[in-house]
């Protein structure tokens, strides 16, 4: 079937099978490999993207379900060669080690700040229930999100 959707502000028309996952469309067909797949069972959040502005696990979404929607991946955040403030904050606060979970963490954080521009540490930790990191122990991720939120408020 042919579907049309917007990916990182570009209109895409693509032929997909009904059982193709959004994560596979992004990674394998559109070569947007910043969206990571780790557990592939809806647990870890590495595959998080924004669908019509709301964070979603792209391994638990059919590409067909996203037809007509606007999808933003980690590749869609930086503008004019400059990192998005949330990406910059992860960089500066050392919010990653291996980096595998990072695209999902950043997308989730961007969604959080959209609904809650000034989240407390407790609110950030509660929000990250859908994102698992095996390296950092979360301390610097939480710090990064606080810093990213502050940067976005003053932007």
């Amino acid at each position: 079937m042919e579907i049309k959707l917007t990916v990182n502000a570009q209109l895409v028309t693509v032929e997909v099978e009904a059982n193709l996952l959004l994560s596979a469309l992004l990674r394998d067909r559109l070569r947007l490999t910043g969206t990571h797949v780790a557990c592939d069972t809806s647990q870890c959040g590495a595959c998080t993207v924004l669908v019509d502005g709301a964070s979603a696990k792209s391994c638990t979404l059919l590409a067909a379900e996203a037809a007509g929607s606007s999808v933003v991946t980690i590749e869609g955040l930086a503008a004019d060669g400059a990192l998005h403030p949330m990406q910059q904050a992860f960089h500066e606060q050392h919010g990653l080690q291996c980096g595998f979970c990072t695209p999902g963490m950043v997308m989730s954080a961007v969604d959080l700040v959209a609904v809650n521009p000034d989240p407390s540490e407790a609110e950030i930790r509660a929000w990250l229930k859908g994102n698992i990191c095996r390296c950092t122990g979360y301390q610097n991720i939480v710090k990064a999100i606080r810093a990213g939120a502050a940067a976005l408020r003053s932007a």
Binding site: E17, N19, L21, L61, E65, S108
Partner: protein, 265 residues
């Protein structure tokens, strides 16, 4: 995933016509249960019928003394809805405690109750508030809707369209969540309603159930102390790697007292 055809009907009539034509079709709402099931090849429908094109099914409105929530209302929408927070704050809080943000952004009320996972949260709210499920065919009281492990009174091709929740005088839901999934190891919904006190328990047994001794005690006096000495038999309760039956039985009484305290707060 096995292959299947995908349809996104724009109306309930169109969805029902498709259900009539296709031998084995699965309804798709938020997909947070169905897609993992398809990925594990635990189901192999000929077609998936995505209900998300039927926008009217996502409405949330107050109708007199009831709160009517469409089957396609997402958990995040219920949690954030000013109408829900004002009419039944316990229901908004329950929705806000389901899974994680990504799951709440996709998962729906209709999908949750049609699935009737023994550890799901919404079934406790429906049973605890004495809600009524509306389908494209009929109305089903919550007391008759949940019939067993992953089983409901729904016919194979019956579509849930909405749930009507009578607005209680007060209510609260407290769960002991599985720390990984947030599903309820035990969750208790307590409500003081126009039709009396209702107490519903999820997570503990193969299917959500009411707790008549607790209801009777709370009808005499709606206070946590009324439940002192409440003892729940472990027979027939779930035992798994997360909690044995005797522990779940203990948790039911603890969560029930906490829920009453929270309802009074």
């Amino acid at each position: 995933m096995y292959s299947f055809a995908y349809y996104r009907p724009a109306s309930l009539g169109e969805a029902r016509a498709l259900l009539g034509q296709i031998e084995e079709a699965s309804l798709l709402a938020g997909g947070q249960t169905l897609i993992p099931t398809l990925k594990q090849r635990l189901a192999s429908p000929d077609a998936v019928i995505d209900l998300k094109g039927i926008g009217a099914l996502a409405a949330i409105e107050r109708k007199g003394e009831a709160l009517v929530i469409g089957a396609l209302a997402r958990h995040a929408a219920v949690a954030a809805s000013p109408v829900v927070r004002e009419a039944i704050p316990a229901l908004a809080a329950l929705a806000d405690g389901i899974g994680d943000p990504q799951v709440r952004n996709r998962g729906t009320l209709g999908g949750s109750i049609a699935n009737n996972d023994p550890a799901a949260d919404y079934p406790a709210a429906l049973l605890g508030l004495g809600a009524t499920v509306t389908t494209c065919e009929r109305s089903i009281p919550a007391d008759n809707f949940f019939t067993g492990l992953f089983a409901t009174d729904l016919e194979p091709d019956e579509i849930v369209t909405a749930v009507s929740f009578p607005i209680p005088r007060r209510a609260a839901y407290v769960k002991f969540p599985n720390p990984a999934s947030r599903f309820a190891i035990v969750g208790v919904f307590v409500a003081e309603t126009a039709a009396g006190v209702r107490v519903a328990v999820t997570g503990a047994a193969p299917c959500v159930f009411r707790l008549p001794p607790a209801e009777a005690a709370l009808a005499r006096a709606f206070a946590p102390e009324s439940l002192d000495g409440l003892s729940i038999a472990a027979d027939g309760l779930n035992s798994d790697i997360h909690a044995v039956a005797a522990y779940r039985a203990h948790l039911v009484a603890v969560m029930a007292r906490r829920a009453v305290r929270q309802a009074l707060a």
